[in-house]
Amino acid sequence: MSLMSLTALELGKKIRERETSAVEAAREALDQIKKVDKTLNCFVTVDEEQALHRAEEVQKKIEAGELTGPLAGVPAAVKDNLCTEGLRTTCSSRMLEHFVPSYTAEAVRNLENAGAVVIGKSNMDEFAMGSTTETSYFGPTRNPWNPEHVPGGSSGGSCAAVAAEECSFALGSDTGGSIRQPSAFCGVTGLKPTYGTVSRYGLIAYGSSLDQIGPIGKDAADCAAVLEAIASYDRKDSTSMKRDSYDFLSALDGSAEGLRIGIPRDYFGDGLNGEVKERILEAAKALESKGAVLEEFDLSLVEYAIPAYYVIASAEASSNLARFDGVKYGYRTREYEGLHNMYKKSRSEGFGPEVKRRIMLGSFVLSSGYYDAYYLKALKTKALIKRAFDRAFEKYDMILGPAAPTTAPKLGESLGDPLSMYLGDIYTVSVNLAGLPGITVPCGTDGRGLPIGMQLIGDCFQERKILRAAHAYEQTRAYSRCPMAAKQA
């Protein structure tokens, strides 16, 4: 049996108990990448030599008793918007095609301190803008469950790599659903933590008030363990929060006893695919059988989340991406006349269409004359959405719903109509607007064999509750490997 078919915690245990080694594990991950990544394109950069060297170092430390944690020696993929010192970090953009960071993102550094072995940088939508991983300059990632379909996005490379067993777990980032939606499409578990829980230092910014880094794994326990490793208070991130506790794993007791779960009627109306709805409601029943109490309610304001999100995210993107001017790093056009022409041509050639679309929209909503009507209005809407969640959490421990209205679309179906692609984010974006934690757990497939994910949304700082519920649900349903991985046994 392949080491890559194990969960990260199972593999970590085998390494600790000397049944295998960090080097062996890294080799298997790299072999699997060689086998399947020509088809799937989950990785932008894999540095085999560096990964094996790092695995050897980690193995020595494990043997010397210096590394004893649950993730020591376990191979991981890191989304290509997280800076890694000496390892190319592209954001899947032509703009950063040759960018080699001089420092490592805090979350990745925390992961390395826990002994994880970064084997490569995973593909994504360009600058994390997109819901399909098709806007990558390095070509789309394909869904391991069916390569004719997209893996979702923007952390599509990370989620597909976990499903295809090219790594044991991965880091992604989530601005409007970019961990939870591709996790659902790829049949893996992905967690977006409460805003401020994981340092954004070294994460190439998209929408700074919404961005959070989070774990993607085969199950809730892996996500809990990775979150324990990466979460930290960091004064290099001015929005970093000091939390009372960074203990998540101990919440997993196999039961959902005592948990009050609200099911928003407005998440199950028109627009939700019938098969997705059925699987999610079955999953809710399963949680009831594990002791949870279910109740339907009206969340309200659901339809306002997407317009508010796209105004805020685009506004922040237009500001954050102003730094790419072809001077200090990144792409510079070949021919230009003077400084301003150099800026404009470099940016126009270095960014892809979706990134330019959002920069334009963001510049527009922030411009004088439109600022109040669009940007301020969106911030007020955000305040009301937060209030609606606050009211819900007075009654419930968490909210249960879908992660996306459909299963993964086919390649090429989404980009032609941006607005309808944006509408697919309806169940995820409000969580970012309100700064809440959310987790997606696989809960079956549709008639075509494409995975469906259930989303559990918690109140701020209540990761323990949603992880506990996710874990309790897993007790009723074993993890399904994607056919591509299962075939290789």
């Binding site: 420092y103 317009p307 001077v327 940016r347 269409p353 920069i359 334009m360 007020k380 305040a383 937060k386």
Partner: protein
Amino acid sequence: MANMISDETMEYVGILAKLELSQEEREQAKKDMEQMLDYIDMLNTLDTDGVEPMSHVFPIHNVFREDTVENTDEHEKMLANAPSAKDGAFKVPKTVE
């Protein structure tokens, strides 16, 4: 209801965004932006009178530290990523005539 964006506005947004779009790209961008704004206009059906705009969900404050150098000299590493460098500095086109 339908938003119409003038060519002048597109030109202005292009200056703000520091993007130079081809004629074809600009037509497409205009169409996409009009469609998005039509959709975003839905926010106008929501009564937000008296609501404070919320930029951050938590009450966060400026974070200060002593202004002391904490990092080491990474001059070479920084310049290694520059599209053009000369004599230990970033090289840019002539900015002053």
